[in-house]
């Protein structure tokens, strides 16, 4: 599937009775790269999960390539082209690496697994191992590879670099950029390291307490020290 645009209108969502996201609106053109920033617990993960349909939605629309998917179940959203790499990785612990990948294949043939193994040679070595046996970083690779194998048109990445060795981080970020600029995917990235996030994205969105408090280009943010300080900069430590 080629990249598609994503537009979110007045989305409110949360868990059970707790509202976390309020009135979130933004849009990402097809093939664009968006970074989502914000301090701990501000709702970044909640936002991505809501797009995927894994949280409770109280209102709002999610337009994928112009069509509202907010009423769909998450598997239908996935089949329409949304793909999520969750922060908690959510490896299928009792499945082998290869089976994990197959679960993400959707309808593609098994030969497509090669793509994943090329991206992460480490996974090829461990492909008969069960999910729970993998090291933290290997789980992260598996989670990312599994989602990418499904060829999503909009890829949602929740801290995909966590626990990865620097050398792999670099390669991976480069791969993400390639996927986006090749017109294969639109990418939304949540990333704690501001440098990496800004390097990666065209535009940036900052969340605070479940609301968007700033939207703009990476350059704008980079040039505004005060902004960074205010929203994501080093917090005061008691």
């Amino acid at each position: 599937m080629p990249a598609e645009s994503l537009e979110v209108r007045r989305l409110s969502a949360g868990y059970g009775p707790t509202v976390v996201l309020e009135d979130v609106s933004f849009s990402v053109p097809a093939g664009a790269r968006l970074s989502i920033l914000g301090r701990n617990g501000m709702g970044k993960t909640t936002l991505l999960s809501s797009l995927m349909g894994l949280t409770r939605r109280y209102g709002g629309e999610i337009l994928l390539g112009g069509r509202d998917v907010a009423g769909l179940k998450s598997c239908d959203r996935a089949l329409r082209g949304l793909g999520l790499v969750p922060q908690t990785r959510d490896i299928f612990r009792s499945l082998t690496v290869e089976e994990n990948l197959i679960a993400g294949l959707k309808d593609r043939p098994r030969s497509a697994l090669e793509e994943a193994y090329e991206m992460f040679p480490r996974l090829r070595e461990r492909r008969r191992n069960l999910g729970w046996q993998l090291s933290g970083g290997e789980q992260q690779m598996l989670s990312t590879a599994r989602t990418i194998l499904g060829r999503p048109s909009v890829l949602l990445l929740d801290e995909p670099l966590e626990g990865l060795a620097p050398v792999i981080c670099e390669e991976l970020m480069a791969a993400f950029v390639r996927l986006a600029s090749g017109g294969e995917m639109t990418i939304l990235l949540v990333e704690q390291r501001i440098e990496s996030a800004l390097d990666f994205a065209d535009s940036v969105l900052i969340l605070e307490r479940g609301r968007i408090v700033w939207q703009g280009t990476s350059e704008a943010l980079r040039s505004d020290e005060r902004l960074v300080e205010q929203y994501i900069g080093v917090g005061t430590v008691h």
Binding site: C75, F92, E99, K106, W132
Partner: protein, 287 residues
């Protein structure tokens, strides 16, 4: 020597009968992670359907078996849709509560409609005549049960371990939310698996009726046996279930031959010993 052979044959037949009744439960418990205590209730429903079909509709054994499987699956579909779907992924004890409730209901209802008497499923001549094995005669249906058990074991193992459906099923159980997010139609996967499990329960109920006769209390009477066998095998493992059934069948049979007075001690002491050595059951899926 002849006695040893004879006991071995009995043990094997009993083990396979257990297997064919329990394997559906191993599927629900190990793979779908639903402690379906109502498994026996579905086997019992199948038994009633088969017996009814024979008596009232004059169906033959094969037709009755087929009707029983279809009928049981048909009964299970709405139950899956409206009840079981609510407890996938719930804590095990909640599942216990719900499935015991279902068992009670099924028992009450069958008692009401079919009365409390034993129900029999007449075997065709080909299965009821003893087959001479040289050193002794074995009832034909025992051989039939063995064959059925082996076929089911092989088929199911292939389905679960080798097909994409099997992988999707296991992924769904492992983490339904994530499987959903990867585009797996988890509800359909669950529904189909449940139907398969219930079909197996039905098959086991009818084919195993010569060992565990059909009556309204069936569902509760054998619940413990089913639970023990499945867990000793390691829930969700087909070879494990097969192994457990054969081992426990053998222990039970020899125990009852050698020391009938202490048959139960034998059986449960063996269970304790096995579980202490294999805390996950013989071939339990590692966590």
């Amino acid at each position: 020597m002849q006695t040893v052979f004879s006991i071995a044959i009995d043990a094997f037949a009993y083990g396979m009968a257990l297997f064919i009744i329990c394997i559906g439960l191993s599927l629900t418990m190990g793979l779908m992670r639903v402690v379906n205590l109502a498994h026996g209730a579905f086997a019992m429903i199948a038994g009633y359907i088969a017996s009814y079909a024979q008596r009232e509709l004059g169906a033959g054994y094969a037709a009755a078996l087929l009707l029983a499987i279809l009928g049981t699956v048909a009964v299970s579909i709405p139950l899956e849709r409206f009840l079981y779907r609510r407890i996938y992924g719930s804590p095990q004890l909640t599942q216990v509560l719900m499935t015991i409730g279902i068992t009670f209901c099924v028992i009450g209802i069958t008692n009401f409609f079919f009365g409390p008497t034993l129900k029999t499923i007449a075997l065709p001549a080909s299965l009821s005549t003893p087959v001479d094995l040289g050193f002794r005669a074995v009832a034909g249906h025992r051989l039939f049960v063995m064959a059925c058990g082996l076929v089911v074991a092989a088929g199911l193992w292939f389905l679960i371990e080798r097909t994409a459906f099997g992988i999707r099923l296991r992924a769904t159980v492992d983490n339904a939310g994530m499987a959903d997010a990867l585009g797996v139609r988890t509800q359909a996967v669950y529904a189909v698996s449940f139907a398969i499990a219930m079909g197996l329960a039905a098959l086991g109920g009818v084919v195993g009726a010569e060992f565990l006769p059909i009556e309204p209390y069936y569902a509760l009477r054998y619940m413990v046996t089913f639970l023990v066998v499945v867990s000793v095998g390691g829930a969700g493992s087909i070879p494990g279930a097969l192994l457990a059934c054969l081992v426990l069948g053998a222990i039970d049979t020899t125990g009852r031959y050698l020391m009938p007075d202490f048959g139960n001690f034998f059986f449960y002491a063996a269970v304790i010993a096995i579980v202490c050595v294999f805390p996950r059951g013989f071939l339990g899926r590692a966590q």
